[in-house]
């Protein structure tokens, strides 16, 4: 396995009295070592639950019901391991070794992810000493070095601040410092800049790219912002209602998209760099509510090219390759490519 992470057919469901919410219902993607995967999709499509499944930090009501998440990493004796994160015990030794160490995560709202009752320094020291054999003093020094690295001015003083004493941008930097203090192989960034202003967003995105290079790590960046995807990702998974509907390199996603949803999404954003038009091309309707069961392709009720009989019944279309590295979950596309193959 050359990839650092391969997710295949992942399904994570919530079970309630009212029914089942299929939050993640067939997710496939891979992340290359040092590569950047962008995951994009509208609110509720399952991006965060996918990330939480990988981290094995799901709410109690959620269960991984199917699929594999193969993660390749060198263990503490530097022997290469491949584990299926879907199978390991979420509180077991393997997961403890991986979480926060081999795979780290940053969140949209650092305010809720950081502890309000511990200083930034205490949280850094704890995260470091969980995985590295360092004294408190050494861990604190490493912590200061990390805060400097993420561009926090006067790091040796700021380390004793609480998260609420920092501005939004500095807080996000502090969270990045905590996430990277054990030099993870994979950083999962869930909407890392959504709560920030554009000038601060530009700073943080550049910081993530610089640290990615320095640490030679892979990044999985989750966002609903296609601009952020275009700036950061080299491969992209487009999600709709719990499924990856298109996977391709970033240039193909933006310049040769194949799935009707990807195409419609790209048409509907008010682009800052496009000439103004009289109207935006919108996608009709809305994402159906989570409990609703949609037969056939999950996008068919909103799709302009849906074919009755083909798209609105049966199983949802599988994500199938149409070209090298480009995969699409649309009956029309895969029929097409089969015909010309």
């Amino acid at each position: 396995m050359e990839n650092i992470l391969e997710v295949k057919g992942l399904k994570t469901h919530f079970r309630f009295d009212e029914g089942i919410v299929r939050a993640v219902d067939g997710v496939d993607f891979r992340i290359r070592p040092q590569g950047t995967l962008g995951i994009v999709g509208e609110s509720g499509c399952g991006k965060s639950i996918t990330a939480m499944s990988i981290m094995r930090l799901l709410p109690r009501s959620a269960k991984i019901v199917d699929g594999q998440m193969l993660f390749r990493y060198p263990d503490s004796r530097n022997i290469e391991q491949i584990v299926d994160l879907a199978q390991v015990d979420e509180d077991g030794r393997t997961m403890l070794e991986i979480r926060g160490n081999r795979i780290a995560m940053i969140f949209q709202e650092p305010m809720t992810a950081l502890s309000p009752v511990h200083t930034i320094g205490e949280q850094l020291v704890e995260a470091i000493r969980l995985h590295q054999d360092l004294s408190k003093r050494e861990a604190r020094n490493l912590g200061i070095e990390m805060l400097r690295k993420v561009g926090i001015p006067r790091a040796e003083q700021r380390i004793d601040d609480y998260s609420f004493q920092l501005s939004g941008g500095l807080r996000q930097r502090a969270m990045i410092a905590i996430a990277l203090c054990n030099r993870p192989l994979l950083l999962i960034a869930d909407e890392p800049t959504t709560a920030l202003d554009v000038t601060i967003q530009a700073q943080i995105l550049r910081l993530i790219r610089e640290l990615q290079e320095e640490y030679a790590m892979a990044v999985m960046i989750i966002t609903h912002n296609l601009g952020v995807i275009a700036r950061m990702a080299d491969e992209v998974a487009v999600m709709y209602r719990g499924r990856v509907v298109e996977f391709a390199d970033v240039d193909s996603i933006f310049h040769a998209p194949k799935h009707p949803y990807t195409k419609a999404l790209l048409r509907s954003i008010p682009k800052v760099d496009a000439p103004r038009t009289a109207r935006l091309l919108s996608i009709r309707g809305t994402v159906p509510e989570p409990f609703a069961v949609v037969p056939g392709c999950p996008f068919h009720p909103r799709c302009d090219v849906a074919v009755a009989g083909l798209c609105n019944s049966g199983e949802p279309p599988a994500l199938l390759p149409v070209r090298n590295g480009h995969a699409v979950a649309c009956v029309l596309e895969t029929e097409e490519s089969r015909r010309y193959a």
């Binding site: 554009v198 601060i200 700073q203 275009a230 509907s268 008010p270 800052v272 760099d273 496009a274 809305t286």
Partner: protein, 344 residues
């Protein structure tokens, strides 16, 4: 919106805002003594023509919402005037007493960012959209019913939704209800504060199109507040850029994007990630944080983050000055700088 090239240059002025100020007290200590003021809005001037859409952009805390609220006196300004020209009369909203303000409000309405918080969960859609009419003394059930049906049609909602409560609706549908309520009294001006920011991308476009249609059909003027430079580009005739409580640049939309004159506008445009992987590099990254209007530096308020700062910028405060026929800018170096716009 409307005619992009010629805009509404010929239309008469609808609203003129002069010297608008809103200072919030900063209190501290047990006795909550006032120790300073936060100049959230500080001497803001602009006007909007009939049927025109003026965009107000800037980063969080720069005073957009406060400006919008003060224009409608949803918040009492510390100073300034807001003159509306309606039916041949010029009325300064700041001079109106409570009662006259209430009746005058039918000309100017507000749409809010959060469609979830801005609707009363215990009111049906019918009660919500007809509330402004009832507040203005319309009680006849048939009149209310007829107007409610018209409004639903205008905002693209099925009539049977009138009997429902808002909790069952999606964000886009709730925003449509908020828009219907704002339209109920045929306003001349709508202040829309981040009306699409809380919505999903695919729904954003629907609401932007709806606002455009309404503006064309009904010739309503908008003060369109947003932090999203993509959204304002596609909705506004003219844009005012705010920084730390002041307008620092104002220009017709296409001119602002093609050739910004203020270093802050340049940086703002450059830092928006463009949805095209072929345009990746060389964004301008401003250092420093979004300013807090309680702690502003002397001289040009932007000078600590400005790439073109000179010694005099630290002492002299630039005023918003006309350059060219339709543009204003507040930068000491505006004439000599040649800044980068956004190529399309």
């Amino acid at each position: 919106m409307l005619n992009h090239t010629t805009g509404q240059a010929e239309a008469p002025i609808l609203v003129e805002v002069k010297g608008l100020k809103k200072y919030f007290p900063i209190r501290s200590g047990l006795l909550r003594r006032q120790i300073a003021v936060r100049k959230a809005v500080d001497d803001v001037n602009f006007s909007i023509r009939q049927g025109e859409v003026l965009g107000l952009v800037g980063e969080s805390g720069c005073g957009k919402t406060t400006t919008g609220l003060c224009v409608l006196r949803g918040l009492e300004p510390t100073g300034g005037s807001v003159t509306m020209h309606v039916d041949g009369n010029a009325v300064d909203l700041m001079q109106l007493n409570r009662e006259r303000l209430r009746t005058f409000r039918r000309h100017a309405q507000m749409i809010f960012q959060d469609p979830f918080a801005s609707l009363n969960p215990r009111m049906t859609v019918f009660d919500t959209v007809t509330e402004p009419l009832r507040a203005h003394g319309v009680t006849d059930r048939d009149t209310l019913q007829a107007r409610a049906l018209e409004l639903m049609e205008l905002v693209g909602l099925a009539p049977h939704y009138l009997r429902r409560y808002p909790h069952a609706f999606s964000g886009g549908q709730r925003q449509r209800i908020g828009i219907a309520r704002a339209l109920a009294l045929n306003p001349k001006l709508i202040v829309a504060d981040e009306p699409v920011s809380a919505l999903d991308v695919s729904v954003q476009a629907q609401i932007i199109n709806l606002l455009k249609d309404l503006q064309e059909q009904l010739n309503i003027a908008f003060l369109f507040i947003s932090h999203d430079l993509g959204v304002v580009k596609h909705t506004c005739n003219r844009i005012a850029v705010m920084y730390a409580g002041k307008i620092v640049e104002e220009a017709p939309t296409d001119e602002l994007y093609a050739a910004p004159k203020h270093p802050y506008t340049e940086a703002l445009l450059s830092s928006v990630p463009r949805p095209d992987p072929r345009h990746r590099e060389n964004e301008i990254i401003l250092s420093g944080e979004v300013p807090d209007p309680a702690h502003l530096p002397g001289g040009c308020p932007f000078h600590p983050r400005c790439l073109y700062v000179e010694e005099r910028c630290k002492h002299e405060t630039p005023a918003l000055t006309p350059i060219g026929p339709n543009r204003r800018v507040a930068c000491l170096r505006a004439e000599e700088l040649s800044l980068r716009g956004m190529s399309t």
